[in-house]
Symmetry: C2
Subunit: 440 residues, 2 copies
């Protein structure tokens, strides 16, 4: 199914557009006006909304409509949907809540019956769609995330909002955001296939509570070439119970999902931030080819903590080849660790980091490098960060960073992230995320 028109429609009708700022129908309409698309408000009672002439029905709009957005009370949805179908609008987003999630199963069935093969529906009970590359916001979330290469499909609108807000604060770019709500029509499979074709998308994140068509989903996972990272909630008995009272979809045994993800080669993560951290690694093309780690540190303690964390996560600290030790002897202080982690000692200057990194530029005995730093007396975290960013541009293997501390490393962290290097708050967390990427 070609979904281009839902992600990049030429003309949009907002049914239930409102001039009252407290209403969802107002927020969506206002967000859409910023998109510079042809947007038509539909509302039988209003005359003008934000300066635009209002249509009484979608059928009154002249010319084709690519996308209808429905934001009217649930009970009114079938009536307006009939008009959408008569107008031959190919795609419809129903944001209205009050369907199966509230026990209104018959009403939902009615909508499904009406729409069948006549218009493709996203929702109901969803937040909508955002496509930052087209500056298109068909949702009631009021900000536009940065353009980027991570696509995010969320079964929970509320969670979607939180993650959008978080992505904006952390300067993470998205290729698209889709809230699927009750997913009576468009579900994961169609969306994933679209994102796999979408040239802006490098990695796909999913927040999932349940899937309706398991077999189709597995087939899709197998066919999609881009990396898929999944946070599946409702793992435990307690979680299943909570998921049931949230979406009325009974989550089946977690083991079945586990099997699907494994067969489909999707990466399953445990936390929301892991979801985005791993997606970012893919977005930055920073996947390690294997589990061999090299650690550089100016502090023994963090080196030990990182070693523990890496081994616990199934990563491997490779031994240093003799010739590397020899070369490092020439440039490092006498008491450097002579081992991996390469502890270049507490009084390490930016030049020590630089020289050490440069000796490793073309090395092949490891798969990725992790640079640790604590802000000691002689340390200049900001200058080390600059060296790291410069080095990252020259080397082919992934470089990760963990600069520990507070104010003294703030600017360094900012430069590292801006320079396209993934920064982790602690070694343990880094180990968990990195291991998810390399160990299948």
């Amino acid at each position: 199914m070609n979904l281009n028109k839902i992600f990049n429609p030429k003309t949009i009708a907002v049914i239930g557009a409102s001039s009252s700022p407290n209403k969802v129908g107002h927020d969506i309409f206002r967000n859409l006006l910023d998109s510079k698309k042809k947007v038509h408000p539909v509302n039988p009672k209003a005359k003008k909304i934000l300066g635009m002439i209002v249509y009484k029905s979608v059928m009154d709009i002249k010319g084709k409509v690519d996308l209808a957005v429905i934001a009217v009370p649930a009970q009114t949805v079938p009536v307006v949907l009939e008009e959408v179908i008569r107008k031959k609008v190919p795609f419809t987003i129903i944001v209205s809540a009050g369907f199966s999630e509230s026990g209104e199963i018959e009403l939902e069935q009615k909508v499904i019956g009406l729409a069948k093969d006549k218009t493709t529906i996203l929702g109901p009970n969803c937040l909508g769609i955002i496509n930052p590359h087209k500056k298109l916001n068909v949702s009631f979330f009021n900000k536009m995330p940065k353009k980027g290469s991570i696509a995010f499909v969320s079964q929970s609108g509320a969670l979607g909002v939180a993650m959008l807000d978080w992505a904006i604060k952390n300067n993470i770019g998205l290729s698209s955001f889709v809230s699927i709500g009750n997913a009576i029509d468009l579900e994961y499979s169609e969306l994933l296939k679209h994102m796999d074709r979408d040239k802006n998308t490098k990695a796909i994140c999913i927040y999932m509570e349940s899937v309706r068509h398991g077999e189709r989903f597995l087939e899709t996972l197998k066919s999609v070439k881009k990396p898929i990272i999944v946070l599946k909630a409702g793992k435990t008995k307690t979680g299943e119970k909570a998921a049931f009272s949230h979406t009325a979809a009974l989550a089946t045994e977690d083991a079945i999902y586990e099997g699907i993800f494994r067969q489909g080669k999707a990466v399953r993560v445990n936390t929301l931030y892991q979801l985005f951290e791993i997606a970012q690694v893919h977005a930055l093309d920073q996947q390690p080819k294997g589990k061999k780690a090299l650690i550089i540190t100016n502090a023994g303690g963090p080196g030990v903590i990182a070693s523990d964390a890496f081994e616990n996560a199934g990563l491997e600290l490779v031994d240093l080849p003799k010739h590397i030790k020899k070369e490092l002897n020439d440039i490092l202080p006498k008491h450097w660790s002579n081992n991996n982690p390469i502890d270049i000692i507490g009084d390490a200057l930016p030049i020590h980091y630089k020289k050490t990194l440069n000796k490793l530029k073309n090395a092949t005995f490891f798969d990725f490098i992790m640079v640790l730093l604590t802000p000691q007396t002689m340390t200049n975290p900001t200058e080390v960060a600059k060296e790291l960013v410069a080095f990252n541009k020259k080397t082919k293997y992934p470089v990760f960073a963990c600069f520990m501390g507070g104010h003294q490393v703030s600017e360094a962290r900012r430069l590292i992230k801006k320079g396209g290097i993934l920064h982790f708050m602690e070694p343990e967390y880094a180990a968990q995320v990195i291991s998810k990427m390399v160990i299948k």
Copy 2:
């Protein structure tokens, strides 16, 4: 052993004080001048340092000296230590590096032999001591943490610096900080006993790579009444190897440590931030009495994620008693979850949070409460935060929070932390930290 004079000395001599801002002996001296104690610089070559008259030897100082700080090159330490002993200074902090950690085992043995019973030594190869309650900074870390009730003992100076910097940025108060370095004399046991007596300390954090006197340490753990939280590095084979090349102390089998911590009822954590999070819970007197959790949320998805995380961590989501359900029916929207997590639905206003919390004020069917929030259209995170802080003052059970998002929840998070409530970035992390506190 009474350690009051090392944490609160009246007169201090800095041997190796320097007027050169790049030297440790300068930083320590400058930090001490801010303490408004009697501080004397000692240096055979200088005449005045920062306006103070310099003594050629510690023996030239008139009157008693409570604490000598030695910051001269390692080879010179025995000579100045002899003078310290002749001057009968009861406590000596040797910050100088270049002893067993650099292979100079004989030099370290010489220092041990000299000091024996004559002066109590902290270090060598350490960062020093900080006592925020006395504004005393006998270290070369250049900031003063906030006064508070967490004591922190670190075997790694570099890690100590990172955590001090982090604590300052996150507004976490400390009762004392001690870097033990090579710990040739003062080790964990004496320090823990002191902190157990210290009226400013409510919880004790330890970063440990190895302990010299295991049996004595276990006895101490058993005798100390205040909560002790330990991050023990060198857990795995890889970590042990890294720890060895860092401090030359061979970490024994991790199982032995595990046994000691269990018998001594110390809480063992996996990450640095967990160390401080748990200490904060104790500092705020917010330990849950048991594992029964109650979750309040305005979003189903996060409720499911939290349920999973809590069950995985061994916490229990209690069922709601009938009378509570009934009372909540009167105040919550029709479609609230009728269950734990109490999902008060996406359009929950601050008043819904307030009313729900107030119904639970005197309830006894759970041990702690976790409030989740995502910033949806109708949500006012800042006002909800205010309600939460007000409620926290009225209730006896611990209240935790997890407000998910970015900019839209920033101010709310600030108010929550300022209001004495522990805030977690994600439910999974909260579950790990809380479970460490209640499950023995």
